[in-house]
Amino acid sequence: MAMQQPASGWESIPALLERNARIHAARPAYREKEFGIWQSWTWAEARDEIRAIAMGMLALGLDRGDYVAIIGRNRPALYWSMVAAQMCGAIPVPLYQDAAAEEMAYVLDHCGARFVVCGDQEQVDKVLDVQERLPAITHILYQDKRGMRKYDHAHLHWLTDVAAEGRAGHSRFEDELAKRQGELTYDHTCVMLYTSGTTGKPKGVILSNRNIIEASKSSSEFDRLNEKDSVVAYLPMAWVGDFIFSIGQAMWTGFCVSCPESPETMMTDLREIGPTYFFAPPRIFETMLTNVMIRMEDAGKVKKRLFDKYMALARKVGPAILDGKPVSAADRLQYRIGEMLIYGPLKNTLGLTNIRVGYTAGEAIGPEIFQFYRSLGINLKQLYGQTEASVFITQQPDGEVRADTVGVPSPGVEVRIGETGEVFYRSPGTFVEYYKSPESTAATKDAEGWVATGDAGFFEEGTGHLRIIDRAKDVGKMADGSLFAPKYVENKLKFFPNILESVVFGNGRDFCAAFINIDLAAVGNWAERNNIAYGSYQELTGHARVLDMIQANVEEVNRSLAADPQLAGMQVRRFLVLHKELDADDGEMTRTRKVRRNIISEKYDDLVTALYDGSKSIYTETEVTYEDGRKGKIKATLEIRDAQTVARAADRKVAAE
Amino acid sequence: MPEQVFFALEAAANGLMTGVLYALVALGFVLIFKASGIFNFAQGVFALFAAMTLVGFQNGQIPFAHLINAIFGTSLHHFGWNMPTVLAILCTMAVMVLLAFLVERWVLKHLVNQEPIILFMATIGLAYFLEGFGDVMWGADIKKLDVGLPQGMSSAIDEATYSLFGYGFFIDRLDVVAAVVAAMLVVALMLFSQFTKYGRALRAVADDHQAALSVGISLRFIWVMVWAIAGFVALVAGMMWGTKMGVQFSLSLIALKALPVLMLGGFTSIPGAIVGGLIIGMGEQLFEFSVGPLVGGATQNWFAYMLALVFLVFRPQGLFGEKIIERV
């Protein structure tokens, strides 16, 4: 692969910061809702803040090549700490803030972090809990002072103090800082991000300045992002997407990053800021849509009818209008009235009015959900990406947006499909290596730079769009040799608002069976409206009418699967509704909420057996971890239902003749 | 100067008689306030309305004649007969009970849990409404009311005092009758509240709404009852005042003077209403007698309010109220 030379001449994030502080000096760089208003920093101010922190870190003895862990919710000061670390020649390692102390300890130990920057007391406590085992940690910095007064401050520093120290000592550190900043090249590590990984321990993905800047540059150009755009940073800082959007693209284009006041006020804050560029995993869009529908349930008759009428119209012509396809003048006029009465205000209350480009990725999004936003005139698109690719592998260009594909290869990315159907890519964004794990690196990236995604997919004929079916390793064969792609079925199930998660089994078996997690918000609301009393989540999951409802969903999936001879074998013949929500704290899911299939099938071995031995019900005990870390057991007797399946189209034809 | 002293005494005696009438209106306020915590600003208009209705019945006026004439172009005014006074009083009483019922039904019921001040405002609205309603129903002209009460100077008092002091007191016989009637009413009401089931319930309601409910009497019934009684008191007051100065709008303003009476006497005290009425009636006569001529007269317009105001500053709980210990 040909190594791109830095097209811009800006070889690091700190270099881009310097550029922005010059050319966008007075434009807003960061905003954060704090103390009731949006505190704002221009690029010039942000540069000064970051330099102060960097010099403060130098004062604390931060060395080149040190790892600086960052843990906390999205806040400007934490983003600044990452860039400050880069300035000092150190490598920022953002961690998931909801990680349990144990998980965090592993990562901190693995990267050998010397500095840890924490958002608040909660994070500091977690680090202090495991610090004994981690001798590498020399300093813990924290941003939020609350509750920290009584702590021993020998190695604890308030970030504000650190910055003040840096400012005070600027004459001592300025030269050193300039020197270290000057040393940064395209090949220096920009950031290390841990992938949660569906199996095994997290791996540290090393992304160089080249990776991040090239990926940011081409993706920004792809969607014509510029300094007038604005984003709301609310996704985990440890996730590559947030790093690309809130640091990579922000630094490249100079747009403004706004941080919400707290997770509870996220939706209000989103509405206040009204971003122009927005990313959310399907889950968020789904929740948003569910909330819209739930709230509209309570609307008066007239309003509800108006809403339904115009939403139907939007479904019919909205996406076409968005894509600039021909639509009759009458419909266009109607749509415009709808925009005035419904779509406009609706988008506005959701805070999506100004969205120019919206993305969803990470998982398949329900076609209905996807179309809902598109029909409102929101330019929501899909992309396919990975940490190892610095996000972008494929993207949907404007005007070629569909729910069932993930688009065409992003600029500068080569994609090929392996013999097994696995997707491979190669790009300037392709990661350098897995930290301290040459075997994993070798297993993933070959000598020519091709990276295996682990996903199975194919290019659609005609359009050249990529379609992803499942994890490559999860794709298996059923007993009769037909294709088994569980994720595909699971996603179809999850598109029903009542179903939060599902796990489909069937590899090497005669038929497919499934675990289902209901969506408490949706089903609970439904129960309330239908006067169904329930005392607990568990009671709701066992309710006969809930099971009936889920069964109907399963059977609908079966019908759609039956339409395609390739997939008809994957119809779900038996299912049960789980008595507890699958939870990352119990190791059943990853922090990014991906199902850990193997762990689940081991842990619920008894249930899987029951699915296949024809029992009508099964008693089970499950260990759970509570929020405070205590463990407990819940007991339940689950009913197993048989769902109707449809004979394969081909068989049916035979039978009919 | 004994002459002046007698003048003053005469003024005081006349004031006392007026005071009895104030007390009569004030009684209506106290009843309603005790039972429902409502400060019924419309009590004065009640008296006016009762008097108008009474005259209307007596004279055989056609209700809403003006309105009917305006709508249908007719020129109705009287039925052409006169109703005997007693019957007219009974009919008026029935109207006042009906009014009490409607007030409860259309107003109070919907304002049960509101703050007292909101209820107070509502009674101001009620006063406005009733004033307009009375005018529409019976016409706004000044009417003469005669229910056969004795009027004019009481020669018996004149002679008696003359023989005693050598100075004959000029006292209206109507005032004497009013005083007697008021005294009887007060006694009757006290007996009612002490010795009847409903009276006891009424007192219980004043203390605690829940407790009253547990006695087995509906709160709504008590409210209707108490407003009806207040209507009856208003009728009596309206009769006295109406006889004295004709049935006209200013009647309701005079009735307003029951307010300072109450402030003096305390909102919850029946004896307070009586004593307060007497103090104010006498006080304003004496003040007008002594200071009035110096400042241009007509001090009755404000004296009662000023007296109450000054008095309250020094004793906010009124004459008979208990001292309030504020708690936090």
Binding site: R31, G36, I37, W38, R271, E272, I273, G274, R295, M296, D298, A299, G300, K303, G344, P345, K347, N348, T349, G351, L352, T353 | F39, H66, L67, A70, W106, V107, H110, P116, I117, I118, F120, A122, I124, G125, L126, Y128, F129, E131, G132, F133, V136, A140, L253, L262, M263, G296, A298, T299, N301, W302, Y305, M306, A308, L309, L312, V313, P316, E326
Partner: protein
């Protein structure tokens, strides 16, 4: 029609605390201002000025004044008519004693004089609360009217007992007296309305307003957290009377021109202000305008329908008007005790959330 608030965010406390924080509201406010300044002056004629617009403006000032006292500080007053009379007579005395003094200054001075009288009658409020205070304020009403009626000095010993406003000019244009053009009357009233509303808004959003509301909501707790009740109540009386005095001053000098105190400032005027505040909404400046508009427009409308439309006798129409207003007060208290302002707030909330119901 519907609010569009996405992207409307505040980066300073100053922006956050402004009178109309939502851009859409701001726009509408400027629109109203533009109409008030740029359209109405050219369309106004004698009838509209006399029957609707000038009384509306003056009653708005009075309602704002009463609302400060009742809605914000929680002190009920039935003495508005009396305080308006103070403003009127102060203006009369100042106009006749200092013929060269500018009328604007006179109006303001009348406000100050009324504020002084208001403080005097507010003193008992420290000891008297609730409707006791309401009744106590009747003392002000009756005493003041009596005073202006009986003491010749106040009406310069005129034979009729009336007071008449001589002609005074602003920038060479008569704003009082029979020769003043309606648009000039309109402008002088509008000027005071804008200033009063602006000051009322400033006072109610700051610490003074908070001390009033604290006293209103829970006087004991207010005292314990450091509010001096006497000071809070007296400032409320002072500010309220200041505004009411201005209203009375304009009512006499600009609107009526000639005044017989019992007729012009009787207790029914106290009730008009009271009703305006209740119907408009306690504790809302917008409500004061809405209530004043209602109390001015409604009788005009009713009279137009009954007398001009149906040819009913005037006195009957007046009685029906009493009934309807009394009835409406009750209906408002039952259905929306917080008045038109609350109604508007609800509608606004709906519009902000549209299409969601909540």
């Amino acid at each position: 029609m519907f609010y569009r608030e996405a992207g409307d965010f505040k980066t300073s406390y100053r922006d956050d605390a402004q009178t109309f924080p939502i851009a859409f509201d701001r726009l509408r406010y400027y629109l109203v201002l533009a109409v008030a300044l740029g359209v109405i002056p050219f369309m106004i004629n004698d009838y509209w000025a006399n029957a609707v617009i000038v009384p509306f403006l003056i009653w708005s000032i009075a309602a704002i004044g009463l609302n400060i006292l009742m809605g914000y500080a929680g002190q009920v007053s039935l003495g508005t008519g009396g305080f308006m009379a103070v403003g009127a007579y102060a203006t009369f005395k100042l106009m006749t004693s200092f013929p060269d003094l500018n009328i604007v200054i006179i109006v303001v001075l009348s406000g100050f004089i009324t504020a002084g009288v208001g403080v005097l009658f507010g003193l008992p409020s420290l000891r008297i609360k609730g409707f006791y205070l309401a009744v106590a304020t009747l003392a002000a009403q009756f005493f003041l009217i009596w005073l202006f009626n009986r003491v010749g000095w106040f009406y310069n010993y005129s034979a009729s007992g009336q007071i008449n406003a001589p002609e005074r000019t602003v920038l060479g244009i008569a704003v009082t007296g029979p020769a003043s053009p309606p648009w000039a009357q309109y402008f002088i009233c509008l000027f005071f309305v804008l200033v009063v509303a602006w000051m009322a808004r400033n006072l109610t959003r700051g610490s003074v307003g908070r001390s009033w509301m604290a006293i209103r909501d829970m006087d004991i707790a207010a005292e314990i957290i450091g509010v001096n009740p006497l000071k809070a109540k007296l400032t409320a009386f002072a500010v309220s009377s200041f505004f009411i005095g201005i209203a009375g001053s304009l009512f006499f000098s600009v609107y009526l021109g000639a005044v017989e105190v019992g007729e012009a400032f009787g207790i029914e005027k106290s009730f008009i202000a009271l009703f305006a505040v209740i119907i408009g909404g306690l504790g809302s400046i917008f409500g004061s305008f809405a209530g004043a508009a209602f109390m001015v427009l409604f009788p005009v409308l009713l009279k137009n329908i009954l007398v001009n439309g149906l040819n009913w006798p005037t006195d009957l129409a007046a009685h029906i008007q009493l009934m309807v207003i009394g009835g409406l007060i009750i209906v408002f208290l039952i259905l929306e005790p917080h008045g038109l302002a609350a109604l508007w707030r609800v509608i606004k909330e709906k519009l902000r959330l549209w299409p969601f119901p909540h």
